[in-house]
Structure formats: C-alpha cells, structure tokens
C-alpha cells in the first residue's frame, strides 16, 4: 500500500515538476547552489541562501501571483553586512516583519541566532537575539512559531564521534506563561534520533518538520532509503509528543532538507545530493510539492487588518486575548501602514485589542471560523460628547453649566449644555451639571478605559429644587379649619393639578423659581386665589387663607361698568366677570343669581328696567363664556336695595352695583 502511494506521489511529482520548475526559474539558476529555503507563513515571501555571486548569501524573493513565479531574488542585506557576517538559515516571522538568521561574525568563532527588523522596506543590521538562545556552540536553523512563543533551532553535537558536522540536535526555546523565555532544551529523543537538522515549526505552533539522516524501511521492513536526508513530521502539543513520520510525498533518491510550508500544504524544500562540491557538501536547488493530508498542521485562521486614526495609519499594538483565560495569546505591532497579520487557531474565540498611547482602546470579539478574516480598527484621540439636559418632570431642555473635572476634581473646562465638547482620551473625567433652581448631578466618564465609540450623546435629567409652602385654610368668621379641594396652577409651566386639603392644612412642595397660582372654591365659600411666586429669593413658607362664607350672602362684583344710560357692558368689566366665570366653572354645581342695582337718580321704572337689562347683560356675558343659562338668574332691583344712603356721590356710586349670590350647591 505504501509502495503504491509512493509511486503515485512520484508520478505526480514528475508531472508537476515542469510547473514547479517554472515557479522557481528565477531562483534555481544554473550552477547555483540554493539552499535553506523558508517560505513565509502567508506564502508571499521566500528567504533562502544562494551562491549566485560565488558566495552563499541570504536572499529574499516575492511571490508574483499573476505569473505564479517567484520574483528575482534580492539580497537581504547590503554587501557591507554580508561582508561582516557569514549567514545561514534565514526565516521570516508570522507577519514578515522580523527575520531570524544564524550568523557568524568576524569577531566570534561560532554561529549565533540574530534578528533583523523590516524598517522602511529594508532589513536592519542583524542584532544578536537576546533571549538565552545563543550559546558558545553553533546555534543554527532558527524556526519561530507563528505565535512567537517558541523557537526550534539546532546545535551540532559537541562530541567528536559524530562523523558529520551537519548532524545536529534540535532544541526548543519557549516562553513561559509570563512571557519570559525559558532555558533551551533538546527535543525528546523520539525526534533527536542522531543526525537531524533544519527544523520548521508550522503555523499551528504544534506541528514541525525536520530533516533526518537515517535509513528508512517500509511497513514490511524493507529498506526504502539509505544514508540520505528525508523530511520527517513531528508534533508537540505542549504535553504529548507524537511519533515522527516520514513525509513520503517529497521523498526522492536525493537528500531533501529545509522544508517549510506555505498555506496549508504547499511544501518548499531544498534537494540535492551529498556529493562533495569542494568544501561544500550541498549542491541543491529549491522545489515545491504537496503534503499528504494526514500530516497537515491544524487549521489556522489568517487574521489581518489595518489600524487607522482619521484615515491615517497607526502603528498600534494589537493584543490577541483568549477571552476564556484573559491571557494574551499574542502581541503584535502594526507596521508603518497600520497593517497587522497573525495566525490564530481555527474555531476559537479571541478578543482583538488595538491600543496606542493617547488613543482610544478598541476591541473586537471574533470567532475564527473561516480561513481568513479582516478586522480593522479606527482609533481616535478624543471623543465628541454632547449633553442634553432635561427637566425630570416636564422634559423640557434646561440650559446647564457643564463643568468637566479630572479624577481629582481639578477643573478642565466649562461649557454650556447645548454644545458639543471634545474630550481627550486617557483619563477618567467627572462632569458636573449645574443649573439655577436644579439639584446638581454628576456623570463619571471613564475615558481611561476602553472606549469603543467616538460620539457620545448623553441625556441628563435634572431634578428641580423644591420649596415647601405651608397652606392653611379657615373660615373667616369662625376660624374653623376647612377641608377643600385646591387647584394648584403652575403658571410658568401651564400645568394644573388638584390637591385635597384635609383639616385645613397642606404642605405643597413647589418647584423653585416658578410661579404658581393656588385657588380654591370650597363649597359655600367665596372664591380664593393667591399667587405663590417662588422666583423671589426670600423664602415663602406660609400662606394663611381666611375664606368668606357666601351662603345666602350677596357678593359685590367690583369694577363692573356700563355705558351711560345703557346696559352695554364696559370692556373694563371683563376682568372681574372672567373671575366669576372661573369660579362658576370651578363649581359646576352652583346656581347663581346675578343682581343689578341702581342709585336713586332717575325714575323708579326706568331704574328697574335698566337694572334688569344690566343684570341680563352680565348673564349674557357669563352665558357667552360657557356658563349655561340654566345656572343663571338675572334680576334687576332698580334702586330698591341700596347698600348705603343715596346721599353722596360716593354712596350712590357704591349703590350702583352688580352682585352675585349662590342660590344652590348642586341641588
């Protein structure tokens, strides 16, 4: 079975070879040694060693999607740098912004692992990787995991009995939970079988590949490969180590080394025989090929995005957090274009957090349920905040002084409530709202915490201050307390309410700064009204009302005038008559008699007629103002019922009058 698979794989490879050969035609130049290729995790870039100019130097090439070819290789470092170091084993990190490479400087006898950053399109001069990875032996072939927490690398055996200097041991250096690098340790003997090299950690951070120089037998024990390097698959999930397996799909009669994977299953590796090329043992080229599905690394989601602020890119920090443990899965810094990319285990949830000092902190919860995701962030340095302040009871807007303090109540600014204020992010603010006649309110704005939104529009409801006013009602004559219904009219707000007064006393909680009219029409008592002006500073605490009984008593209506010798009402009468209208509307059960009287000037009959007509004119006025005629009786008394002797003009004027008398209360 294995043999059949191998045969099919070999045929496939032969068929694919011309295509694959074209893919590398700018790299696999005639007579050139191309070795140690490492494709980037995203498959867009390739770094490798080549001796195009006679000396092995690190190169980089880009994948050209249109032509499906790798571009012309470009030196990773300038000639000066290449002159200072002898390089080997370049590898790009997960977002292609960082390079690990083994290098030997002129000042040091052994290879160490160096790092270089991509800055403005160029790679910085290599600097020693300072995480405890380097030793006084050769430290080679670094392969960093896509989450940046592990590096596989190799060291040659230090014992003399190993026959080949390219036979190495694979080491692992990893970070602990706190993010500190631990001491490097060798991989389990399962993998370090004697002569291994070129480890590669796949992007799932668990699956790795390495080259091992050993004889191979098939399942039936028949030797299938002798004395050559083959690629092996291994997996370490942090607790369990899996038994290595040979990658048969790319096994040939030649040595295969330096495997790396683009995407899920496209393999890149170098091949060549071990015949000596003077001092160099490798005469290899690069090749691509498939990976059998059983050896594929776990699926990963490629997450990328751009962080901007007002459409400008921001080199923000991206933290990937496992929301189940609140632990950081990975930290990333966006490039100068605000771009970031990362590989995340598939079918999991992560919080993506974008931060930049002085800017808002933004996060998004994602589920890695697809192969590729894009999450962009728009950060901002300030929030636009508007405050709409309303009266709690009537909902009308209130102009308010808005004072903004920092967390220790140092005033930052003061604005009116009808505008928008721009508040810098980064500190907790306290906003105090104050308006005349209202109780203050405070709003805490935690702008030092995560701020998702750039615009805030707060509705603030302020409570009006109230003043207590004690009212008492008593009979004018007897002094007895009166139970009655009180009409409380808020003149300022045009709001009328009714209150029941028991035992002659009530305390009203009235809105400060507003004007009220209270009125009552206790049965059998005259109309009472009073203004309660709470706009004044001096406290109004008490009102004592003494009501006059109107039972069987005629009440004189003041200021009722008529045209001379006429029964046409003078317009100045209307104010007084309107009060009577209100009184009668308030007491719909009352029936009243309107009585008109004259002085003794003129004939009796004429005075009687005139008074009848005048009483009728008053009645008509009341009738015209929604008092139904059934409730009214007009009666002229002429000069028969004087209040005062008609002996002076003053008394005669007093006798010319209109009165009303309550005839019944709902009978």
């Amino acid at each position: 079975m294995n043999r059949h698979c191998l045969l099919i794989a070999a045929i496939l490879l032969l068929l694919l070879n011309p295509i694959l050969a074209q893919e590398f035609e700018k790299i696999n130049l005639p007579n050139a040694i191309v070795m140690q290729p490492k494709v980037s995790f995203d498959g867009t870039q390739l770094v490798f060693m080549a001796n195009y100019d006679g000396r092995l130097k690190p190169y980089i090439a880009d994948y050209e999607t249109d032509s499906a070819r790798w571009s012309d290789p470009v030196l990773l470092f300038d000639e000066t740098t290449n002159g200072q170091y002898e390089f080997q084993y370049p590898q790009l990190n997960f977002d292609n912004s960082r390079l690990l490479i083994a290098a030997k400087s002129q000042r040091k006898a052994d290879f160490d692992i160096y790092e270089s950053q991509l800055a403005n399109g160029s790679w910085t001069n290599p600097s020693l990787l300072d995480n405890g990875i380097n030793s006084d032996r050769d430290d080679l072939a670094p392969s960093q995991s896509s989450d940046g927490k592990k590096i596989l690398f190799t060291r040659p055996f230090d014992t003399a009995d190993k026959k080949d200097d390219y036979c190495q041991e694979i080491y692992l250096i990893e970070k602990d939970e706190t993010g500190q690098w631990l001491t490097p340790r060798t991989l389990a003997p399962t993998y370090n079988t004697g002569c291994v090299c070129d480890p590669f950690l796949a992007k799932d951070n668990k699956t790795f590949f390495y080259a091992s120089y050993e004889d191979l037998s098939d399942a039936e024990g028949k030797r299938i490969s002798r004395n050559q390097f083959n690629i092996f698959w291994g997996k370490d999930d942090g607790f369990r180590s899996f038994t290595p397996k040979v990658v048969n799909s790319i096994r040939t009669d030649e040595d295969v080394r330096s495997l790396s994977i683009a995407g899920d299953s496209t393999l890149y590796y170098s091949y060549g025989d071990l015949t000596s090329d003077n001092q160099r043992r490798w005469a290899s080229s690069m090749r691509g090929g498939p990976l059998e599905s059983s050896l594929k690394p776990d699926g990963m989601t490629f997450l990328s995005g751009i962080v901007t602020k007002s459409r400008s890119s921001v080199a923000a920090n991206i933290r990937i957090i496992d929301p189940f443990t609140s632990q950081a899965y990975q930290d990333i810094i966006c490039d100068e274009n605000g771009y970031y990319q990362v590989f995340l285990p598939i079918d999991r949830q992560f919080s993506i957090l974008a931060t930049k000092e002085g800017l808002s902190l933004q996060s998004q919860l994602i589920t890695t349920d697809v192969e590729e995701m894009e999450v962009d962030f728009e950060l901002f340095e300030a929030v636009k905040t508007s405050f709409n302040v309303f009266d709690e009871e009537f909902f009308f807007p209130i102009f308010t002084i808005v004072t903004i303090y920092d967390s220790t109540y140092n005033q930052i600014t003061q604005v009116g409530s009808n505008g928008t204020v721009v508040l810098d992010i980064g500190q907790e603010l306290n906003v105090v709202f104050s308006a005349d006649s209202y109780l203050e309110d405070t709003l805490s704005l935690p702008l030092d915490q995560e701020v998702l939104f750039e615009n805030f529009d707060f509705d603030i409801v302020l409570k009006r201050k109230v003043k207590s006013v004690d009212l008492s009602f008593e009979d004018e004559e007897t002094g007895n307390s009166l139970g009655l219904e009180l009409t409380v009219f808020n003149v300022t707000r045009n709001e009328k309410t009714k209150r029941q007064v028991k035992e002659g006393k009530i305390t009203l909680e009235l809105r400060d700064g507003e004007v009220y009219e209270i009125s009552t029409s206790a049965q059998g008592y005259s109309f009472f009204n009073a203004e309660l002006d709470l706009t004044k500073e001096e406290p109004l605490k008490e009102v004592k009302a003494r009501l006059k009984s109107v039972k069987n008593q005629a009440i004189v209506l003041n200021n009722i005038t008529f045209e001379v010798n006429s029964y046409n009402l003078g317009a100045q009468s209307y104010e007084e008559l309107d009060k009577l209208v209100t009184y009668l509307l308030e007491n719909p059960d009352y029936r009243v008699e309107v009585a008109a009287h004259t002085d003794d000037v003129g004939g009796d009959a004429l005075n009687l007629t005139l008074s009848n007509l005048r009483a009728n004119a008053v009645l008509e006025y009341l009738q015209d103002h929604a008092i139904t005629v059934e409730r009214l009786i007009a009666q002229g008394y002429g000069e028969t019922v004087p209040l005062f002797p008609n002996d002076t003009d003053e008394n005669r004027a007093k006798n010319r009058r209109v009165e009303f008398k309550i005839l019944s209360e709902g009978e």
Partner: protein, 682 residues
C-alpha cells in the same frame, strides 16, 4: 514433576520477594528524589513489573497530585492527561490488587500494620477502591467543570457582544427609544438571558470547583458592576480567572432597560396615541355637532406630550402637530359652545346680533390661533423622520396632509358660522331672499300655505318668532299681508293677519319681540302678537337704518335724503312722533348702518377704491347729531354686501362678501380709532 513444581513455586516466590524488595527500596529512595525522578522510577518499575498492583496505586496517586497542582482551566491538556492517567492507573491498581502482598505491606497504602487482618483488608480495599472511585468522580467532574466554565464565559461573551451591538446601533438612548421595536426588545432580552445563563454556569462551576481536589483554588467570587451610562459602561472585558470576577451586570441592565423601554417608549406611544385619538374622536364629535361638547384640555396635558416628544426628537413635526391639537380643541370648544350650547332663541335684534358678534369674535380669535398653528405645520422646518409607528397607524396622510385637512375643516366651520351671522342680519331686516332661504330650511314652514278662503299666499318673507310661530309677509290675491302663523300638527293656524297698505320699504326686528315696518312714510312698531305699539309719520326719504332706545322709547333713523343722493339725514323721534334731534351729512360712499356708542352716534359708509380695496368711513356725531369727526378704516379687499356690527365699546365686526368672488367672505375686526385689527378672507 512435583520437584519441578516446587522449584517453579520457589522461583516464583523468590522473584516475588525480589520484586517486593526492589519496590520497597524504590519507595524508600523517594525521600532523596524529586517528584519527577520518583515518578519516572515508578514508571520504569511498572514497565518491568506490569502486574505489580501498588505501583499503579502510587502512579494513580501521583497523577492525581499532578492533576491537583495544575490550573484546571489554563492547563487543560495536562490536566486532562493527568486525570486520565490517574484513572487508568487506579483501575489497574484495582485489577492487579494482590491482597496478600497488600496485607504484608500496608504502609504502601499509607496504612499502619494492624493485626486484625479483616480490618486491614477492608481498609486497604477502601483505599484502593476509594482512590479509583474518587479519580472516576474527579474525571467526570472535570468534564463538568470545564463545560460549565466554558459555557459561563461563552454566555457572558455573547451577552457582552449583544450589549455592544445594541450600543453600536444608536448614538444615544433617545435614538434607541425612537426605533424600539420587537427586534430590539428581543436583543435586549437575549443580552439578559445570556448573562443569567452565564451566572448560572458560573455558579455551577464554582460548586463543582469546590468539589475538586485542586490545591490552589480560585474563590470564584462575582462582583457585578452596574451599567449606568449608555455606551460608556459595559464595554471592558472581564477576567474569569480572577479570584473576584468583575462582571458588567448585563442582566440587571436588560431588566432595567426593558422596564425603561416599557415606561418610556410604551408610555410615550400610549400618551401620544391616546391624546391624538382623543383629539380625533372629540373633533369628529364636534364636527357632528354633538351638543355642548367641551374637551377638557387640562386632562389632555398636551404640553407634557410636546415636551415628551421634544425630549426624544426635537426635530419632530409632532411637536407642531400637538401644539396645533391644543389650539384646535380650544377653537372647537368655543365653536361647539357657541353653536350648540349658547343658543340664543331671541329674534335677531341689534343686541342679539351684537352678542353674536362678540361670541363670533371669540370664535375668530380661536380660529385664528388654530389656523396659524396649522400653518406652522406646513412651514415647519421639522420632519417626520421618527415616530413612524404614529404616522402609520394614526396619520397616514402625514403631518402636511393633516394640516391641509384641518385648515379646510376649520375654514368650513368658520364660514358656516359666518353664514349664520349673515342670516341673522337678513332676518333682522326681512331681506326677502335670505329669509326665504331660511324658510326652506325650516321644517315647520309650509310654503304652500293657503288662507282660510283657499287663496294661496305668495310668501315674501318668513321670520320665526317662536319655536312654533312664524311672522309671514306675503301677498294674497292683490293684497299685501303681514300675519302670524302657528304650527298646528301638520298644518298652520292663522293667529292674526293685517293688510299692508303698501309694500314694506324697511323692516327691522327690534328687541323685546317687537318689529318695525316702514312703508311709504309710515313707521309701524308692532309686537309679535300683532298689536301695534306705535304708528308714526316720517319725513320723506329712504330709511337705511333704525335704532330703538327702550329706555327712552326713542327712534333713531338714518335716512337717505329724498332730494340728494349723497345726503343723509339723522333723525331722532320719540314715541309720539316728535322730532327730538336731527342732523345731516353727505357722503359719496354707500351708507351701511349706524349705532350709538356711549354719547356718540357712529355712521358707517363704504367707499370702493380703484385698487380693489375698500375704505370704511365712520362719521361720528354727538347726541344732537352734530358732526364730531370721521375715521377711515382701510381694508385690503374690495367688500360687497357689508355688515358692520357693534360688538361692545371696544370692537366692531365687519362681515361682507368679497366683490370679486361672491362665495367668499371677508371678516374683519375694527377698533374705534380707525384701525383694522384683523381682516381675513374665507
């Protein structure tokens, strides 16, 4: 054979002894080893002695210890492996349990040597079985622990995600309230349900965690933070591995917010809809002429509704609509009252018409406010972007359509009342066509009334004197007659009749159910009963208006001079026919009427101007008819068929037809100082 068997037994015994000895030594060396070294030593021993029970017991215990030292949430892989290994080893310890050896070595099970064998066996069994049982139980609980923890976090994340999405859907709370629908309510509920589920699972996790063997347990305390401000709170993530887990209380928020929605949105909907429907039904009833219907505007609390709408959307045209609603109801109240409640049955004397004019002025004031506020809706910069639920179910025509309809409705109502004012004026002067029109509407009047001798009467004018009686002026044969007819079931009964010597030139209803009729130079003042009060001879001239002073029993006449078309005479005569005052004036205009105001007599004339406007000129005279002065009232329209009515001592009403369009009315209010205070075309 027996020897061989004995030898084999011996060898087995020796091997067993050697095995036990080696194992004892291994256990003793534990003191000098690290845990890992001891563990690997046990593993090596187990590989060599795969049926040695206690090594499994020890390995099970060690794996259980490893498991108990791990963080069960963070180190799931290793925890899972350790508890799995513990379970396998504990099972194997049971399977390979060797009672004899166990009795010999109770210290391997951390038990003292006891002479009582059965008790010891029982204790060892309890140890072995107990270890297995507890490991099995921990294995199961561990699955539950992780399940509940993951669900707790998952549900919290869902809750938070839902909360953020709701926050993201609107810049402010008002926006949310405005678009509150079933979908939003469901989203809010889901946030609360997820949070409650999360807390449920967290509690389960806490309980299970307490039952686990772990050495360093988290306290799993929960602190619920209140979400106070929209968009500002409830955003930051929570750490579920902290001893005190600080969570945003989405559950409470959900409940509070639903309650808030119920109070605010449902309250808003309810209040607005109720107020509007009340308006519609009241308005309908008012239009239908329901008797004395008066809307209680105080109960409606329209200002509160306007403030409420403003709070949510200060650009809503509903603000204008509800402001209008208040004004319309106030207009409706006035209108209905005057039309249906304040019924003035008296015949249209000058006093009654003045009173009507006053009432009409009140209606006009309300109409004017209602109309201008309806106009405000049309011109409003506000919009109907929000409150679609209101428009959909209550105002499908939209605010603009509503305003148009309302203005039309108000105008029609007003014109109807203006018609009545005109009608009264026509009846007062027995203007023939108008009274006939009234007669046609009068169900009591039978136009084909015939006299007792069977002659039919050609009716010129009809005036209702009471509910059941009509003063009729007409022609029977060749003779003119004035008569009163009384409705008698389906017929009419003649109450009285009087032949008229000549056609009536001037007729007027005076107060006190009396009338004056002038034909040729004779003035007859008579009562509704037909009784003649006064009959006087007048000078030559065409009577244009007559006033009667009850108090003084005086007639004041405005007459066109018989010789000069532009000269008019003012004449005051007493009931005996004696002239008590007289004066004259000339005017190029058309004389309309005259009346007294205080001590002065006012005569109104009209002048049509070339620019299609009208000047009303008031000539004022003192009590002896000496000219005092004139006032010119400039109106912007050209008036026709003009009525001028004294409302009171401050206002005059002008009602007329528009000369260019006879269907249209002009209504104007004047003061006594030459100023037109209002002028409207209907």
């Amino acid at each position: 054979m027996r020897k061989l068997l004995t030898l084999l037994c011996l060898l087995a015994f020796v091997r067993l002894c050697a095995q036990s000895g080696e194992y004892r030594k291994l256990l003793e060396e534990q003191r000098n080893q690290t845990q890992d070294e001891f563990f690997f030593a046990l593993q090596d021993f187990q590989k060599q002695n795969p049926q040695f029970s206690n090594v499994y017991f020890q390995l099970a215990q060690m794996n259980l210890n490893f498991f108990s030292s791990e963080d069960p949430i963070i180190n799931r892989l290793s925890s899972d492996q350790y508890i799995h290994n513990a379970k396998i080893n504990a099972g194997l310890a049971k399977s390979f349990y060797d009672e004899k050896e166990a009795i010999k070595n109770p210290d391997w099970y951390s038990l003292p040597k006891i002479k009582e064998k059965d008790s010891l066996v029982a204790m060892i069994n309890q140890k072995v079985d107990g270890l297995y049982d507890s490991v099995v139980e921990y294995t199961n609980r561990y699955v539950e622990l992780l399940d509940n923890y993951d669900k707790a976090v998952q549900k919290y994340l869902s809750s938070r995600e839902g909360f953020v999405a709701i926050n993201n859907s609107s810049e402010n709370l008002r926006g949310l309230f405005l678009k509150a629908d079933r979908s939003l309510e469901e989203s809010i509920d889901r946030v609360g349900q997820d949070f409650d589920s999360s807390m449920y699972y967290l509690n389960r996790y806490r309980i299970i965690y307490q039952q686990m063997p772990h050495m360093r347990k988290r306290q799993v305390l929960v602190k619920r933070q209140q979400i106070e401000h929209f968009r500002m709170n409830g955003i930051t993530p929570s750490n579920f591995l902290a001893d005190e887990i600080v969570v945003w209380n989405y559950g409470q928020w959900s409940k509070d917010f639903r309650q808030l929605l119920k109070e605010e949105v449902d309250g808003l909907k309810e209040e607005i809809t109720e107020a509007y429907r009340f308006f519609l039904s009241t308005n309908r009833r008012m239009l239908q002429g329901e008797e004395c219907l008066q809307a209680n505007l105080e109960n409606l609390k329209l200002q509160r509704i306007i403030n409420l709408v403003t709070k949510y959307d200060n650009q809503s045209i509903l603000i204008d609509v509800f402001y209008y609603v208040g004004q319309k109801l106030a207009f409706g109240n006035k209108f209905v009252y005057e039309k249906n409640c304040n019924i003035i049955d008296d015949l249209p004397s000058d006093d009654i018409i003045s009173r009507k004019a006053r009432a009409f002025q009140n209606i006009y004031t309300s109409w004017s406010v209602a109309d201008s506020t309806a106009q405000l809706i049309l011109e409003s910069p506000r919009n109907q972007t929000h409150f679609s639920w209101f428009y959909d179910s209550n105002m499908p025509e939209g605010a603009i359509g509503f305003s148009d309809l309302q203005r039309k409705e108000n105008n029609e109502a007003f014109i109807e009342e203006l018609d009545r004012l005109y009608e009264l004026s026509a009846i007062q002067n027995m203007a023939l066509m108008d009274t006939m029109r009234f007669a046609r509407q009068d169900s009591l009047f039978l136009s084909d009334y015939s006299s007792a001798d069977g002659d039919s009467i050609e009716v010129y004018a009809v005036i209702p004197t009471t509910d059941s009686t009509r003063l009729v002026y007409g022609k029977e044969g060749e003779g003119l007659k004035m008569m009163t007819l009384q409705a008698d079931q389906e017929d009419f009964r003649l109450v009285w009749e009087k032949a008229q010597p000549a056609p009536i030139d001037y007729f007027k209803v005076l107060g006190d159910t009396s009338f004056v009729a002038i034909h040729e130079r004779t003035l007859v003042h008579f009562y509704a009963s037909g009784t003649e009060k006064v009959s006087l001879k007048l000078p030559l001239g065409e009577t244009r208006n007559l006033l009667y002073n009850y108090l003084k029993a005086q007639y004041s006449l405005l007459m066109k001079d018989a010789k000069n078309d532009t000269t008019y005479n003012l004449l005051q005569i007493d009931y005996r026919g004696k002239t008590t005052a007289q004066g004259k004036f000339t005017t190029s205009g058309e004389v309309i009427t005259h009346f007294t105001n205080g001590d002065l007599v006012w005569v109104f004339t009209s002048i049509s101007n070339p620019d299609a406007t009208t000047t009303l000129r008031a000539h004022t005279f003192n009590s002896t008819f000496q000219s005092v002065g004139t006032f010119d009232y400039q109106l912007t329209n050209e008036l026709d068929d003009i009525r001028v009515v004294k409302n009171d001592d401050q206002t005059l009403t002008v009602a007329s037809k528009l000369r260019s369009e006879e269907e249209k009315y002009i209504y104007a209010l004047l003061n006594y100082e030459g100023e037109v205070q209002h002028e409207s075309v209907f």
